[in-house]
Protein backbone atom coordinates (compact mmCIF):
# COMPACT_ATOMS: atom_id res chain seq x y z
CA UNK A 1 0.00 0.00 0.00
CA UNK A 2 1.43 3.32 -1.00
CA UNK A 3 -1.60 5.46 -0.24
CA UNK A 4 -3.57 4.05 2.70
CA UNK A 5 -5.19 7.41 3.42
CA UNK A 6 -6.43 7.60 -0.18
CA UNK A 7 -7.81 4.08 0.06
CA UNK A 8 -9.57 4.97 3.31
CA UNK A 9 -11.01 8.13 1.74
CA UNK A 10 -12.39 6.15 -1.18
CA UNK A 11 -13.92 3.61 1.21
CA UNK A 12 -15.57 6.37 3.24
CA UNK A 13 -16.81 8.01 0.04
CA UNK A 14 -18.39 4.76 -1.10
CA UNK A 15 -20.04 4.23 2.27
CA UNK A 16 -21.33 7.80 2.33
CA UNK A 17 -22.72 7.30 -1.14
CA UNK A 18 -25.13 4.62 0.01
CA UNK A 19 -25.82 6.25 3.38
CA UNK A 20 -26.89 9.36 1.46
CA UNK A 21 -29.80 7.47 -0.02
CA UNK A 22 -30.47 5.05 2.80
CA UNK A 23 -34.17 4.66 2.16
CA UNK A 24 -33.32 3.14 -1.17
CA UNK A 25 -30.15 1.31 -0.20
CA UNK A 26 -30.89 0.01 3.31
CA UNK A 27 -34.52 0.38 4.33
CA UNK A 28 -36.03 -0.87 1.08
CA UNK A 29 -33.95 -4.07 0.88
CA UNK A 30 -34.50 -4.83 4.58
CA UNK A 31 -38.22 -4.33 4.10
CA UNK A 32 -38.23 -6.61 1.05
CA UNK A 33 -36.60 -9.34 3.11
CA UNK A 34 -39.22 -8.87 5.83
CA UNK A 35 -41.99 -9.16 3.24
CA UNK A 36 -40.53 -12.42 1.92
CA UNK A 37 -40.39 -13.70 5.46
CA UNK A 38 -44.00 -12.85 6.21
CA UNK A 39 -45.37 -14.05 2.87
CA UNK A 40 -43.52 -17.36 2.88
CA UNK A 41 -44.28 -17.93 6.52
CA UNK A 42 -48.02 -17.57 6.01
CA UNK A 43 -48.09 -19.30 2.62
CA UNK A 44 -46.02 -22.33 3.62
CA UNK A 45 -45.62 -22.19 7.37
CA UNK A 46 -48.78 -24.08 8.13
CA UNK A 47 -47.61 -27.22 6.35
CA UNK A 48 -45.60 -29.58 8.53
CA UNK A 49 -41.93 -29.77 7.53
CA UNK A 50 -40.44 -32.95 8.79
CA UNK A 51 -36.93 -32.18 7.46
CA UNK A 52 -36.60 -28.93 9.39
CA UNK A 53 -35.22 -29.12 12.90
CA UNK A 54 -36.57 -25.61 13.61
CA UNK A 55 -39.81 -23.88 12.68
CA UNK A 56 -39.99 -22.47 9.17
CA UNK A 57 -39.96 -18.84 10.27
CA UNK A 58 -36.72 -19.32 12.18
CA UNK A 59 -35.28 -21.37 9.32
CA UNK A 60 -36.05 -18.66 6.74
CA UNK A 61 -34.64 -15.66 8.58
CA UNK A 62 -30.85 -16.28 8.41
CA UNK A 63 -31.06 -17.36 4.75
CA UNK A 64 -32.97 -14.21 3.87
CA UNK A 65 -30.41 -12.15 5.76
CA UNK A 66 -27.59 -13.69 3.71
CA UNK A 67 -29.52 -13.30 0.46
CA UNK A 68 -30.10 -9.63 1.22
CA UNK A 69 -26.43 -9.21 2.09
CA UNK A 70 -25.28 -10.81 -1.16
CA UNK A 71 -27.65 -8.88 -3.40
CA UNK A 72 -26.87 -5.55 -1.79
CA UNK A 73 -23.12 -6.02 -1.75
CA UNK A 74 -23.31 -6.71 -5.48
CA UNK A 75 -25.63 -3.76 -6.07
CA UNK A 76 -23.30 -1.42 -4.19
CA UNK A 77 -20.09 -1.91 -6.14
CA UNK A 78 -21.73 -2.57 -9.51
CA UNK A 79 -23.96 0.50 -9.41
CA UNK A 80 -21.23 2.76 -8.10
CA UNK A 81 -18.85 1.68 -10.85
CA UNK A 82 -21.32 1.88 -13.73
CA UNK A 83 -22.70 5.21 -12.50
CA UNK A 84 -19.16 6.54 -12.35
CA UNK A 85 -18.44 5.33 -15.86
CA UNK A 86 -21.68 6.63 -17.36
CA UNK A 87 -21.20 10.03 -15.73
CA UNK A 88 -17.49 10.13 -16.45
CA UNK A 89 -16.35 10.54 -12.85
CA UNK A 90 -14.33 7.31 -12.91
CA UNK A 91 -11.55 9.32 -14.58
CA UNK A 92 -10.87 10.98 -11.22
CA UNK A 93 -10.12 7.58 -9.75
CA UNK A 94 -7.86 6.72 -12.68
CA UNK A 95 -6.07 10.04 -12.16
CA UNK A 96 -5.65 9.68 -8.40
CA UNK A 97 -2.46 8.16 -6.97
CA UNK A 98 -4.25 4.99 -5.89
CA UNK A 99 -2.95 1.58 -6.82
CA UNK A 100 -5.41 -0.83 -8.42
CA UNK A 101 -5.38 -2.96 -5.27
CA UNK A 102 -6.30 0.08 -3.15
CA UNK A 103 -9.21 0.95 -5.43
CA UNK A 104 -10.55 -2.62 -5.38
CA UNK A 105 -10.06 -2.92 -1.63
CA UNK A 106 -12.03 0.28 -0.98
CA UNK A 107 -14.90 -0.73 -3.26
CA UNK A 108 -15.10 -4.26 -1.89
CA UNK A 109 -14.92 -3.10 1.72
CA UNK A 110 -17.74 -0.61 1.14
CA UNK A 111 -19.81 -3.37 -0.49
CA UNK A 112 -19.24 -5.58 2.55
CA UNK A 113 -20.40 -2.78 4.82
CA UNK A 114 -23.51 -2.21 2.70
CA UNK A 115 -24.34 -5.91 2.84
CA UNK A 116 -23.76 -6.08 6.59
CA UNK A 117 -25.87 -3.00 7.23
CA UNK A 118 -28.80 -4.30 5.13
CA UNK A 119 -28.74 -7.77 6.64
CA UNK A 120 -28.21 -6.26 10.09
CA UNK A 121 -31.22 -3.95 9.70
CA UNK A 122 -33.35 -6.95 8.69
CA UNK A 123 -32.20 -9.10 11.61
CA UNK A 124 -32.61 -6.21 14.03
CA UNK A 125 -36.23 -5.81 12.97
CA UNK A 126 -36.78 -9.46 13.89
CA UNK A 127 -35.48 -9.15 17.44
CA UNK A 128 -38.95 -8.89 19.06
CA UNK A 129 -40.29 -11.88 17.11
CA UNK A 130 -37.67 -14.57 17.05
CA UNK A 131 -34.74 -15.72 19.13
CA UNK A 132 -31.55 -16.98 17.49
CA UNK A 133 -29.05 -18.95 19.48
CA UNK A 134 -25.97 -17.54 17.61
CA UNK A 135 -23.81 -20.53 18.60
CA UNK A 136 -20.96 -19.39 16.32
CA UNK A 137 -20.93 -15.59 16.07
CA UNK A 138 -17.43 -15.40 14.56
CA UNK A 139 -18.32 -17.94 11.95
CA UNK A 140 -21.42 -15.89 11.14
CA UNK A 141 -19.28 -12.81 10.69
CA UNK A 142 -16.79 -14.74 8.54
CA UNK A 143 -19.54 -15.96 6.24
CA UNK A 144 -21.06 -12.51 6.07
CA UNK A 145 -17.76 -10.83 5.23
CA UNK A 146 -16.84 -13.52 2.70
CA UNK A 147 -20.23 -13.26 1.04
CA UNK A 148 -20.00 -9.48 0.91
CA UNK A 149 -16.45 -9.62 -0.45
CA UNK A 150 -17.32 -12.15 -3.15
CA UNK A 151 -20.30 -10.11 -4.26
CA UNK A 152 -18.49 -6.79 -3.90
CA UNK A 153 -15.69 -8.00 -6.17
CA UNK A 154 -18.15 -9.57 -8.60
CA UNK A 155 -20.17 -6.35 -8.69
CA UNK A 156 -17.02 -4.36 -9.32
CA UNK A 157 -16.06 -6.64 -12.20
CA UNK A 158 -19.58 -6.37 -13.64
CA UNK A 159 -19.42 -2.58 -13.33
CA UNK A 160 -16.01 -2.43 -15.02
CA UNK A 161 -17.25 -4.68 -17.81
CA UNK A 162 -20.59 -2.92 -18.33
CA UNK A 163 -21.08 -0.11 -20.82
CA UNK A 164 -24.58 0.84 -19.74
CA UNK A 165 -26.88 0.44 -16.74
CA UNK A 166 -28.69 -2.24 -18.73
CA UNK A 167 -25.59 -4.44 -18.77
CA UNK A 168 -25.45 -4.40 -14.97
CA UNK A 169 -29.19 -5.11 -14.79
CA UNK A 170 -28.59 -8.09 -17.05
CA UNK A 171 -26.04 -9.58 -14.66
CA UNK A 172 -28.26 -8.80 -11.67
CA UNK A 173 -31.33 -10.43 -13.19
CA UNK A 174 -29.76 -13.43 -14.88
CA UNK A 175 -26.87 -14.31 -12.60
CA UNK A 176 -27.21 -12.79 -9.14
CA UNK A 177 -30.95 -13.27 -8.68
CA UNK A 178 -31.20 -16.92 -9.82
CA UNK A 179 -28.09 -17.97 -7.92
CA UNK A 180 -29.16 -16.29 -4.69
CA UNK A 181 -32.76 -17.48 -4.96
CA UNK A 182 -31.72 -21.06 -5.68
CA UNK A 183 -29.35 -21.18 -2.75
CA UNK A 184 -31.53 -22.99 -0.26
CA UNK A 185 -32.91 -19.87 1.34
CA UNK A 186 -36.54 -20.97 1.17
CA UNK A 187 -36.17 -24.71 1.61
CA UNK A 188 -33.84 -27.33 2.96
CA UNK A 189 -31.84 -29.11 0.26
CA UNK A 190 -32.57 -32.36 2.14
CA UNK A 191 -36.06 -32.14 0.68
CA UNK A 192 -34.81 -31.87 -2.93
CA UNK A 193 -34.43 -34.64 -5.52
CA UNK A 194 -30.78 -35.80 -5.89
CA UNK A 195 -30.00 -33.87 -9.10
CA UNK A 196 -31.27 -30.60 -7.67
CA UNK A 197 -29.45 -31.30 -4.50
CA UNK A 198 -26.09 -31.68 -6.24
CA UNK A 199 -26.77 -28.55 -8.24
CA UNK A 200 -27.30 -26.69 -5.01
CA UNK A 201 -24.13 -28.10 -3.52
CA UNK A 202 -22.25 -26.72 -6.54
CA UNK A 203 -23.69 -23.24 -6.04
CA UNK A 204 -21.28 -21.24 -3.89
CA UNK A 205 -24.15 -19.09 -2.65
CA UNK A 206 -25.76 -22.17 -1.17
CA UNK A 207 -22.71 -22.64 1.03
CA UNK A 208 -22.83 -19.02 2.11
CA UNK A 209 -26.49 -19.29 3.06
CA UNK A 210 -26.10 -22.68 4.68
CA UNK A 211 -22.96 -21.77 6.59
CA UNK A 212 -24.44 -18.56 7.85
CA UNK A 213 -27.59 -20.36 8.95
CA UNK A 214 -25.47 -22.88 10.84
CA UNK A 215 -23.62 -20.08 12.60
CA UNK A 216 -26.91 -18.45 13.59
CA UNK A 217 -29.08 -21.50 14.37
CA UNK A 218 -26.69 -24.38 14.80
CA UNK A 219 -28.29 -26.42 12.02
CA UNK A 220 -26.84 -27.02 8.58
CA UNK A 221 -27.47 -29.01 5.40
CA UNK A 222 -23.79 -29.32 4.44
CA UNK A 223 -20.58 -29.18 6.40
CA UNK A 224 -20.31 -25.53 7.43
CA UNK A 225 -16.61 -25.65 8.32
CA UNK A 226 -15.47 -27.08 5.00
CA UNK A 227 -17.47 -24.46 3.13
CA UNK A 228 -15.23 -21.64 4.32
CA UNK A 229 -12.01 -22.54 2.53
CA UNK A 230 -13.35 -22.68 -1.05
CA UNK A 231 -15.35 -19.52 -0.40
CA UNK A 232 -12.27 -17.71 0.84
CA UNK A 233 -10.45 -18.94 -2.27
CA UNK A 234 -13.29 -17.66 -4.47
CA UNK A 235 -13.20 -14.26 -2.76
CA UNK A 236 -9.45 -14.06 -3.25
CA UNK A 237 -9.71 -15.08 -6.89
CA UNK A 238 -12.37 -12.48 -7.65
CA UNK A 239 -10.40 -9.83 -5.78
CA UNK A 240 -7.31 -10.58 -7.84
CA UNK A 241 -9.34 -10.59 -11.04
CA UNK A 242 -10.90 -7.20 -10.26
CA UNK A 243 -7.46 -5.88 -9.33
CA UNK A 244 -5.86 -7.07 -12.60
CA UNK A 245 -8.73 -5.67 -14.66
CA UNK A 246 -8.51 -2.28 -12.98
CA UNK A 247 -4.72 -2.23 -13.27
CA UNK A 248 -4.94 -3.08 -16.98
CA UNK A 249 -7.56 -0.40 -17.53
CA UNK A 250 -9.80 -2.98 -19.19
CA UNK A 251 -12.88 -1.18 -20.58
CA UNK A 252 -11.77 1.88 -18.65
CA UNK A 253 -8.90 3.40 -20.61
CA UNK A 254 -8.90 3.93 -24.38
Amino acid sequence: MTNPYGCWTLFVREVRRFLNVKVQTIIAPALTALLYLVVFHYAMGARPRAQLPVDYFTFLAPGLAMMTLLQNAFANSSSSMITGKVMGVHVYLLMAPLSAAEVVLAFVAAAVVRGLVCAGAFLLALVPFVHFAWPHPWLALSYAVLGGAIMGALGLIAGIWARRFDDVALVTNFVVMPLTFLAGVFYSVQSLPPLWRSLHLANPFFHLVDGFRFAVLGVADADPWWGLAPLAAAALLLFVLAWRLWAAGWKLKA
Binding site: Y5, Y92, L94
Partner: protein
Amino acid sequence: MTLRARLCAVMQALEVSHLTKVYPNGKRALDDVSFAVPEGSFFALLGPNGAGKTTLISILADVVRPTKGAVRFLGRDLFRERAWCKKRLGVVPQEIAFDPFFTPRDVLRITSGLYGVKPDERWIEELLQRLELAAHADKNTRMLSGGMRRRLLVAQALVHRPRVVVLDEPTAGVDVELRRRLWDFMREINRAGTTILLTTHYLEEAEELCDHVAILREGRLVAAEPMETLMRKLAAAFLWLRPEGEVRDAQLADARLARFRPRRVQGGICLALARDERGRLNVHEAYQAAVAVFGPPVEMEVRREDLEDVFLRLTNRGGRTS
Protein backbone atom coordinates in the same frame (compact mmCIF):
# COMPACT_ATOMS: atom_id res chain seq x y z
CA MET B 1 20.68 7.74 -12.48
CA THR B 2 23.36 9.83 -10.80
CA LEU B 3 22.35 12.63 -8.50
CA ARG B 4 23.76 15.15 -10.91
CA ALA B 5 21.85 13.73 -13.82
CA ARG B 6 18.69 13.75 -11.77
CA LEU B 7 19.20 17.36 -10.69
CA CYS B 8 19.64 18.39 -14.29
CA ALA B 9 16.60 16.44 -15.37
CA VAL B 10 14.49 18.14 -12.74
CA MET B 11 14.82 21.38 -14.67
CA GLN B 12 12.08 20.03 -16.94
CA ALA B 13 8.62 19.55 -15.49
CA LEU B 14 7.72 17.35 -18.44
CA GLU B 15 9.76 15.75 -21.16
CA VAL B 16 7.56 14.11 -23.73
CA SER B 17 9.47 11.91 -26.15
CA HIS B 18 8.19 10.15 -29.26
CA LEU B 19 4.74 9.96 -27.79
CA THR B 20 2.36 8.16 -30.13
CA LYS B 21 -1.25 7.19 -29.67
CA VAL B 22 -3.22 5.03 -32.04
CA TYR B 23 -6.79 4.47 -30.85
CA PRO B 24 -8.32 1.00 -31.25
CA ASN B 25 -10.28 2.27 -34.25
CA GLY B 26 -6.99 2.99 -36.02
CA LYS B 27 -7.07 6.76 -35.47
CA ARG B 28 -3.55 8.10 -35.03
CA ALA B 29 -4.23 10.89 -32.57
CA LEU B 30 -0.58 11.54 -31.66
CA ASP B 31 2.30 10.84 -33.96
CA ASP B 32 5.82 10.88 -32.52
CA VAL B 33 5.40 14.00 -30.41
CA SER B 34 8.42 15.26 -28.46
CA PHE B 35 8.76 18.45 -26.47
CA ALA B 36 9.70 19.68 -23.02
CA VAL B 37 7.90 21.85 -20.50
CA PRO B 38 10.42 23.68 -18.33
CA GLU B 39 9.69 23.71 -14.64
CA GLY B 40 7.99 26.95 -13.60
CA SER B 41 6.77 27.77 -17.08
CA PHE B 42 3.30 28.84 -18.14
CA PHE B 43 2.92 26.63 -21.16
CA ALA B 44 0.25 26.81 -23.87
CA LEU B 45 -0.53 23.64 -25.79
CA LEU B 46 -2.39 24.78 -28.88
CA GLY B 47 -3.94 23.13 -31.88
CA PRO B 48 -7.19 23.05 -33.82
CA ASN B 49 -9.97 20.70 -32.74
CA GLY B 50 -8.92 17.11 -33.16
CA ALA B 51 -5.20 17.92 -33.09
CA GLY B 52 -4.60 15.56 -30.18
CA LYS B 53 -4.34 17.91 -27.21
CA THR B 54 -6.87 16.06 -25.07
CA THR B 55 -5.31 12.75 -26.01
CA LEU B 56 -1.91 13.98 -24.83
CA ILE B 57 -3.32 15.30 -21.57
CA SER B 58 -5.30 12.09 -21.03
CA ILE B 59 -2.10 10.09 -21.38
CA LEU B 60 -0.43 12.31 -18.78
CA ALA B 61 -3.47 11.82 -16.53
CA ASP B 62 -3.40 8.01 -16.92
CA VAL B 63 -6.84 7.95 -18.51
CA VAL B 64 -5.63 6.91 -21.97
CA ARG B 65 -2.89 4.36 -22.66
CA PRO B 66 0.03 5.47 -24.79
CA THR B 67 0.88 3.36 -27.82
CA LYS B 68 4.54 4.33 -27.87
CA GLY B 69 6.92 6.81 -26.34
CA ALA B 70 7.93 7.99 -22.91
CA VAL B 71 7.31 10.89 -20.59
CA ARG B 72 9.58 12.12 -17.85
CA PHE B 73 7.80 14.01 -15.12
CA LEU B 74 9.99 16.09 -12.82
CA GLY B 75 12.81 13.79 -13.82
CA ARG B 76 10.97 10.51 -13.19
CA ASP B 77 9.53 8.00 -15.60
CA LEU B 78 5.83 8.87 -15.65
CA PHE B 79 4.67 5.46 -16.82
CA ARG B 80 6.72 3.56 -14.23
CA GLU B 81 6.43 5.77 -11.20
CA ARG B 82 2.79 6.66 -11.56
CA ALA B 83 1.95 7.04 -7.88
CA TRP B 84 4.87 9.40 -7.22
CA CYS B 85 4.05 11.49 -10.27
CA LYS B 86 0.30 11.57 -9.71
CA LYS B 87 0.75 13.05 -6.25
CA ARG B 88 2.53 16.00 -7.83
CA LEU B 89 0.24 16.45 -10.81
CA GLY B 90 -3.17 18.12 -10.97
CA VAL B 91 -5.31 17.72 -14.06
CA VAL B 92 -8.45 19.56 -15.15
CA PRO B 93 -10.08 17.32 -17.74
CA GLN B 94 -11.91 18.76 -20.72
CA GLU B 95 -15.17 17.01 -19.92
CA ILE B 96 -16.99 18.26 -16.83
CA ALA B 97 -18.23 15.45 -14.61
CA PHE B 98 -19.25 15.40 -10.97
CA ASP B 99 -20.57 13.02 -8.46
CA PRO B 100 -24.09 14.32 -7.86
CA PHE B 101 -24.06 13.12 -4.26
CA PHE B 102 -21.59 15.63 -2.93
CA THR B 103 -21.20 19.38 -2.37
CA PRO B 104 -18.24 21.33 -3.78
CA ARG B 105 -16.61 21.38 -0.35
CA ASP B 106 -17.02 17.61 -0.06
CA VAL B 107 -15.63 17.14 -3.56
CA LEU B 108 -12.51 19.08 -2.57
CA ARG B 109 -12.10 17.20 0.71
CA ILE B 110 -12.52 13.84 -0.97
CA THR B 111 -10.14 14.70 -3.78
CA SER B 112 -7.54 15.80 -1.27
CA GLY B 113 -7.97 12.51 0.59
CA LEU B 114 -7.68 10.43 -2.56
CA TYR B 115 -4.32 12.10 -3.16
CA GLY B 116 -3.24 11.00 0.28
CA VAL B 117 -3.42 14.52 1.74
CA LYS B 118 -5.49 15.18 4.83
CA PRO B 119 -7.91 17.98 3.80
CA ASP B 120 -6.42 21.38 4.58
CA GLU B 121 -9.58 23.34 5.42
CA ARG B 122 -7.87 26.73 5.12
CA TRP B 123 -6.57 25.96 1.66
CA ILE B 124 -9.95 24.56 0.62
CA GLU B 125 -11.63 27.74 1.86
CA GLU B 126 -9.11 29.85 -0.01
CA LEU B 127 -9.66 27.90 -3.22
CA LEU B 128 -13.42 28.29 -2.86
CA GLN B 129 -13.00 32.03 -2.31
CA ARG B 130 -10.55 32.58 -5.12
CA LEU B 131 -12.57 30.58 -7.60
CA GLU B 132 -15.73 32.38 -6.49
CA LEU B 133 -17.47 29.27 -5.29
CA ALA B 134 -17.73 30.15 -1.61
CA ALA B 135 -21.44 31.01 -1.83
CA HIS B 136 -22.13 27.62 -3.38
CA ALA B 137 -19.70 25.55 -1.35
CA ASP B 138 -22.34 23.62 0.52
CA LYS B 139 -24.92 23.20 -2.22
CA ASN B 140 -25.21 20.08 -4.26
CA THR B 141 -22.90 20.08 -7.29
CA ARG B 142 -25.98 19.51 -9.45
CA MET B 143 -27.07 23.08 -8.69
CA LEU B 144 -23.90 24.64 -10.13
CA SER B 145 -23.84 26.37 -13.50
CA GLY B 146 -21.44 25.24 -16.23
CA GLY B 147 -18.95 27.99 -15.41
CA MET B 148 -19.01 27.17 -11.70
CA ARG B 149 -18.45 23.50 -12.41
CA ARG B 150 -15.43 24.29 -14.49
CA ARG B 151 -14.03 26.43 -11.68
CA LEU B 152 -14.67 23.62 -9.24
CA LEU B 153 -12.65 21.36 -11.52
CA VAL B 154 -9.81 23.86 -11.31
CA ALA B 155 -10.05 23.91 -7.51
CA GLN B 156 -10.11 20.13 -7.51
CA ALA B 157 -6.90 19.99 -9.52
CA LEU B 158 -5.17 22.31 -7.06
CA VAL B 159 -6.39 20.95 -3.75
CA HIS B 160 -3.40 18.66 -3.19
CA ARG B 161 -0.98 21.46 -4.06
CA PRO B 162 0.57 19.84 -7.13
CA ARG B 163 3.83 21.07 -8.60
CA VAL B 164 2.53 20.72 -12.13
CA VAL B 165 -1.02 21.60 -13.20
CA VAL B 166 -2.45 20.59 -16.55
CA LEU B 167 -5.68 22.23 -17.67
CA ASP B 168 -7.63 21.14 -20.73
CA GLU B 169 -9.63 24.17 -21.87
CA PRO B 170 -10.18 25.60 -18.40
CA THR B 171 -11.73 28.76 -19.82
CA ALA B 172 -14.13 27.18 -22.31
CA GLY B 173 -17.63 28.55 -21.80
CA VAL B 174 -16.51 31.04 -19.16
CA ASP B 175 -17.43 34.68 -19.83
CA VAL B 176 -14.81 37.38 -20.44
CA GLU B 177 -14.90 38.92 -16.99
CA LEU B 178 -14.56 35.64 -15.16
CA ARG B 179 -12.01 34.36 -17.62
CA ARG B 180 -9.81 37.31 -16.81
CA ARG B 181 -9.97 36.53 -13.09
CA LEU B 182 -9.32 32.87 -13.74
CA TRP B 183 -6.22 33.75 -15.75
CA ASP B 184 -5.08 36.11 -13.00
CA PHE B 185 -5.41 33.32 -10.49
CA MET B 186 -3.46 30.89 -12.65
CA ARG B 187 -0.74 33.45 -13.18
CA GLU B 188 -0.51 33.91 -9.44
CA ILE B 189 -0.15 30.17 -8.91
CA ASN B 190 2.46 30.07 -11.63
CA ARG B 191 4.41 32.90 -9.98
CA ALA B 192 4.37 30.91 -6.77
CA GLY B 193 6.33 28.23 -8.61
CA THR B 194 3.75 25.87 -10.06
CA THR B 195 4.28 24.78 -13.64
CA ILE B 196 1.14 25.26 -15.73
CA LEU B 197 0.33 23.55 -19.01
CA LEU B 198 -2.97 24.44 -20.60
CA THR B 199 -4.93 24.28 -23.80
CA THR B 200 -7.19 27.10 -24.90
CA HIS B 201 -8.87 28.54 -27.93
CA TYR B 202 -8.30 32.10 -26.74
CA LEU B 203 -5.04 32.76 -28.54
CA GLU B 204 -4.86 36.40 -27.60
CA GLU B 205 -4.90 35.48 -23.92
CA ALA B 206 -2.43 32.68 -24.45
CA GLU B 207 -0.04 35.06 -26.20
CA GLU B 208 -0.29 37.54 -23.39
CA LEU B 209 0.06 35.10 -20.50
CA CYS B 210 2.02 32.08 -21.59
CA ASP B 211 5.78 32.08 -21.82
CA HIS B 212 6.05 28.83 -23.78
CA VAL B 213 3.99 27.36 -26.55
CA ALA B 214 3.63 24.10 -28.45
CA ILE B 215 1.41 23.68 -31.46
CA LEU B 216 -0.06 20.39 -32.57
CA ARG B 217 -1.61 19.71 -35.91
CA GLU B 218 -3.24 16.39 -36.75
CA GLY B 219 -1.29 14.63 -34.05
CA ARG B 220 2.08 16.06 -35.05
CA LEU B 221 4.08 18.73 -33.32
CA VAL B 222 4.63 21.76 -35.55
CA ALA B 223 6.26 24.08 -33.03
CA ALA B 224 7.47 24.03 -29.43
CA GLU B 225 9.34 27.04 -28.18
CA PRO B 226 9.42 29.93 -25.79
CA MET B 227 6.63 32.26 -26.90
CA GLU B 228 9.06 35.07 -27.62
CA THR B 229 11.29 32.93 -29.80
CA LEU B 230 8.37 31.59 -31.77
CA MET B 231 6.96 35.03 -32.37
CA ARG B 232 10.32 36.46 -33.30
CA LYS B 233 10.97 33.60 -35.68
CA LEU B 234 7.57 33.19 -37.21
CA ALA B 235 5.51 36.32 -36.75
CA ALA B 236 5.93 38.36 -39.91
CA ALA B 237 6.28 42.13 -39.48
CA PHE B 238 5.28 44.86 -41.92
CA LEU B 239 5.83 48.54 -42.30
CA TRP B 240 2.69 50.24 -43.50
CA LEU B 241 2.84 53.83 -44.65
CA ARG B 242 0.74 56.34 -46.52
CA PRO B 243 2.65 58.75 -48.77
CA GLU B 244 1.44 62.27 -49.47
CA GLY B 245 0.23 61.73 -53.02
CA GLU B 246 -1.14 58.96 -55.17
CA VAL B 247 0.97 55.74 -55.30
CA ARG B 248 1.90 55.00 -58.91
CA ASP B 249 2.59 51.52 -60.32
CA ALA B 250 6.02 52.63 -61.45
CA GLN B 251 6.92 53.57 -57.88
CA LEU B 252 5.83 50.19 -56.56
CA ALA B 253 8.07 48.53 -59.16
CA ASP B 254 11.08 50.57 -58.04
CA ALA B 255 14.15 48.33 -57.57
CA ARG B 256 14.96 49.90 -54.17
CA LEU B 257 11.70 48.49 -52.78
CA ALA B 258 11.89 45.06 -54.41
CA ARG B 259 13.25 43.26 -51.33
CA PHE B 260 10.30 44.55 -49.26
CA ARG B 261 7.68 43.11 -51.67
CA PRO B 262 5.53 46.26 -51.61
CA ARG B 263 1.75 45.95 -51.87
CA ARG B 264 -1.11 48.43 -51.85
CA VAL B 265 -3.00 48.10 -48.58
CA GLN B 266 -5.69 50.44 -47.20
CA GLY B 267 -4.79 53.44 -49.32
CA GLY B 268 -1.10 53.12 -48.50
CA ILE B 269 1.71 50.65 -49.09
CA CYS B 270 2.81 47.72 -47.06
CA LEU B 271 6.43 46.60 -46.91
CA ALA B 272 7.38 43.17 -45.63
CA LEU B 273 10.13 43.36 -43.01
CA ALA B 274 12.83 40.82 -42.28
CA ARG B 275 15.01 40.06 -39.27
CA ASP B 276 18.74 39.60 -39.13
CA GLU B 277 20.31 36.70 -37.29
CA ARG B 278 20.06 38.64 -34.03
CA GLY B 279 16.35 39.14 -34.47
CA ARG B 280 16.49 42.85 -35.34
CA LEU B 281 13.93 44.10 -37.85
CA ASN B 282 15.12 45.95 -40.94
CA VAL B 283 12.53 48.64 -40.30
CA HIS B 284 15.00 51.45 -40.72
CA GLU B 285 16.12 50.32 -44.20
CA ALA B 286 12.53 49.88 -45.25
CA TYR B 287 11.65 53.35 -44.04
CA GLN B 288 14.60 54.91 -45.82
CA ALA B 289 13.78 53.10 -49.07
CA ALA B 290 10.15 54.23 -48.84
CA VAL B 291 11.13 57.84 -48.23
CA ALA B 292 13.52 57.69 -51.16
CA VAL B 293 10.76 56.47 -53.47
CA PHE B 294 7.62 58.22 -52.13
CA GLY B 295 8.89 61.11 -50.07
CA PRO B 296 8.05 61.54 -46.37
CA PRO B 297 4.90 59.63 -45.36
CA VAL B 298 1.91 61.29 -43.69
CA GLU B 299 0.97 58.24 -41.65
CA MET B 300 2.74 55.01 -40.76
CA GLU B 301 2.68 51.98 -38.53
CA VAL B 302 4.64 48.79 -37.87
CA ARG B 303 2.33 45.81 -37.87
CA ARG B 304 3.26 42.45 -36.50
CA GLU B 305 1.40 39.19 -36.83
CA ASP B 306 -0.02 37.95 -33.57
CA LEU B 307 -0.09 34.41 -32.21
CA GLU B 308 -3.37 33.79 -33.97
CA ASP B 309 -1.88 34.64 -37.37
CA VAL B 310 1.12 32.41 -36.73
CA PHE B 311 -1.13 29.65 -35.41
CA LEU B 312 -3.41 29.76 -38.42
CA ARG B 313 -0.46 29.70 -40.79
CA LEU B 314 1.20 26.78 -38.99
CA THR B 315 -1.99 24.79 -38.81
CA ASN B 316 -2.84 25.45 -42.46
CA ARG B 317 -6.15 27.06 -41.89
CA GLY B 318 -5.30 29.97 -44.16
CA GLY B 319 -4.26 33.28 -42.66
CA ARG B 320 -5.18 36.90 -42.47
CA THR B 321 -3.14 39.13 -44.72
CA SER B 322 -2.00 42.41 -43.35
